[in-house]
């Protein structure tokens, strides 16, 4: 069942198109990663899905309803980022209590246990937390709320690596125990590889790809070999990325489906896998040669 359905969604901010004719659907009880460069439209999309912002045109349906101004969607979804505006005179314990009052599926045990595990003090105020601690706390809220649709916008910002790993574990475990539809936008795709089921890649407000994680891992291959041979062989095919690998040697990344692997081996090229996060980076690359061009 489709929990989220977008069709030709466009969002204008001033004259700029933050989202451009975006269409996709997300099935119920999946964890989707929302990937893209800064400014790709991830936050915009999540805020529209969460009912905070209004789409300029197109159709957005979350739980079969338009999310903006919908009490139902607000009750069954939650948008978490690191910049929550909590009032400065409510302390953390009180905030959790409010969450419990508002969200019908709130799991108090989970909230309290995580709260103690990450060593929060009940009397602390939200504003006094460090950036990483704040993200942790906000994620706890997102987890404990157990909303049917949980939207995390770069939830691990500022967290140190150990905490991030722990949070992903908690996320996964709780998801398995209580399935729901989750979208996480993040820059750390490589860390999330084990967590995500699907990946939605955005660039300049447009959908670039929407694939299951397994397929994304196999999406591209890296070929290393002699430059002329490689370039000759790859003529006509889309080269996602290329860079010098040594004198007369070239490293190129292409879509796996575009080439034949046995033939590549026969030509003496080295085949290497391309991680999902690298694929995303290459696909959304701004220009040939990338940043190296600045130094040429």
């Amino acid at each position: 069942m489709e929990v989220i359905h977008c069709e030709n969604v466009t969002k204008l901010q001033g004259k700029a198109k933050a989202l451009d004719q975006l269409s996709f659907s997300i099935k119920e009880n999946t964890i989707t990663g929302l990937i893209g460069r800064n400014g790709a439209g991830k936050t915009t999309l999540l805020k529209i899905l969460g009912g905070l912002w209004r789409e300029t045109s197109g159709e957005v349906k979350v739980l079969s309803r338009r999310p903006f101004n919908s009490l139902y969607v607000s009750e069954n979804s939650i948008y978490i980022d690191d910049a929550f505006h909590f009032p400065s005179h409510l302390n953390l314990k009180e905030i959790l209590r409010e969450g419990e009052r508002f969200y019908p599926n709130w799991n108090r045990t989970l909230a309290e246990r995580l709260f103690d595990y990450f060593e929060f003090h009940p009397k602390q105020t939200h504003a006094n937390l460090s950036k990483g601690k704040r993200s942790t706390f906000n994620m706890i809220i997102g987890l404990a709320s157990r909303c049917k649709v949980t939207l995390y916008d770069e939830p691990t910002a500022g967290m140190d690596r150990a905490v991030r790993k722990e949070m992903y574990r908690v996320l996964l475990k709780d998801y398995l125990e209580y399935p729901r539809t989750i979208i996480i936008s993040s820059h750390y795709l490589e860390e999330l590889e084990d967590l995500l089921e699907d990946v939605l890649l955005l660039d300049n407000g447009k959908k670039v790809l929407h694939l299951p994680m397994d397929e994304l891992k196999e999406f591209a291959v890296g070929l290393t070999g002699r430059s002329e041979v490689l370039l000759q062989w790859l003529r006509g095919k889309t080269i996602l990325h290329q860079q010098n690998a040594g004198p007369n040697e070239l490293y190129a990344v292409v879509k796996k489906e575009d080439i034949s692997l046995p033939e590549a081996q026969r030509l003496g090229m080295t085949i290497s896998p391309v991680s999902s996060s690298d694929v995303c980076v290459y696909i959304t690359d701004r220009g040939q040669g990338g940043i190296d061009r600045v130094f040429r």
């Binding site: 101004n69 919908s70 009490l71 929550f84 505006h85 969200y103």
Partner: protein
């Protein structure tokens, strides 16, 4: 969205806002304290040779200051920092407005009650600390009038609050109102002063000189509803967390 769901959400938001905006009571107390001090000046006096000077004391000034406080506080409810606080829990535009309306009513009730009681504080203080001979207290003896009066105070405060809310909402809707509304008000005042017309006095009389309680009730609640309607319509597309 059924009424039951809406009602539930409004209820939850109402209690949340009470905790959230508790700081408003701080400004209420300060405002009323200042007003009480001003009231020691008396709200009028008569003097003539034969009788010396007679000072009249009442808590009118406290009431008026409370009106101002209600207007400002309601206006602030519509500003970003206050609005952003509510998005993270369950809400939509309609429930937000309704819970604000009820919350402002609760504020008006507390502000009105304390304004009324401050009259006693004032009078006791005058009696104890001032050297004047107290001639009479003009105490209201009819409980019906007392109750009607207190309710009316609350309604007036609520009315000013809803005016502030409306102004704030209009400004959020189109920033230009922030300049437009004060200009219109000042322009009207100047026009009225120049033409020596009684327009403002008549508006004042419409609300404040009405001696039928029922009519006062109807007039104020109608004004409140109108203000909220305008607020709701103008902010319907308002986004949060820009």
């Amino acid at each position: 969205m059924s009424f039951a769901e809406l009602g539930k959400a409004v209820r939850k938001q109402f209690f949340y806002k009470f905790k959230l905006f508790f700081g408003l009571f701080y400004s209420l107390i300060i405002t009323q304290a200042i007003a009480i001090v001003f009231s020691f000046n008396g709200t009028g006096s008569i003097s003539s040779g034969q009788i010396g000077q007679i000072h009249f004391y009442s808590a009118d000034i406290v009431l008026v200051f409370t009106f101002g406080w209600a207007f400002i506080s309601a206006l602030q409810l519509t500003t970003k920092p206050f609005r952003d606080n509510e998005y993270l829990f369950v809400f939509n535009r309609l429930s937000s407005h309704l819970s604000n309306l009820l919350f402002l009513l609760a504020l008006s009730f507390i502000g009105g009650l304390s304004a009324y009681l401050s009259g006693y504080l004032l009078k006791v203080a005058v009696y104890m600390f001032f050297d004047f001979q107290l001639i009479g207290t003009n105490d209201i003896t009819s409980p019906a009038v007392v109750v009607a009066g207190i309710i009316t105070i609350v309604l007036y405060i609520w009315m000013f609050a809803s005016l502030g809310y409306m102004v704030g909402s209009l400004v959020q809707f189109q920033k230009v109102f922030a300049i437009l509304i004060p200009s219109i008000i000042i322009g009207c005042l100047i026009l009225v002063a120049l033409s020596e017309s009684e327009a403002i006095i008549r508006i004042g009389k419409f609300y404040f000189f009405e001696s039928s309680f029922l009519l006062v009730f109807i007039k104020t609640t109608a004004t409140v509803c109108l203000c909220f309607l305008i607020s709701a319509v103008s902010t319907n597309h308002l986004e949060v967390r820009k």
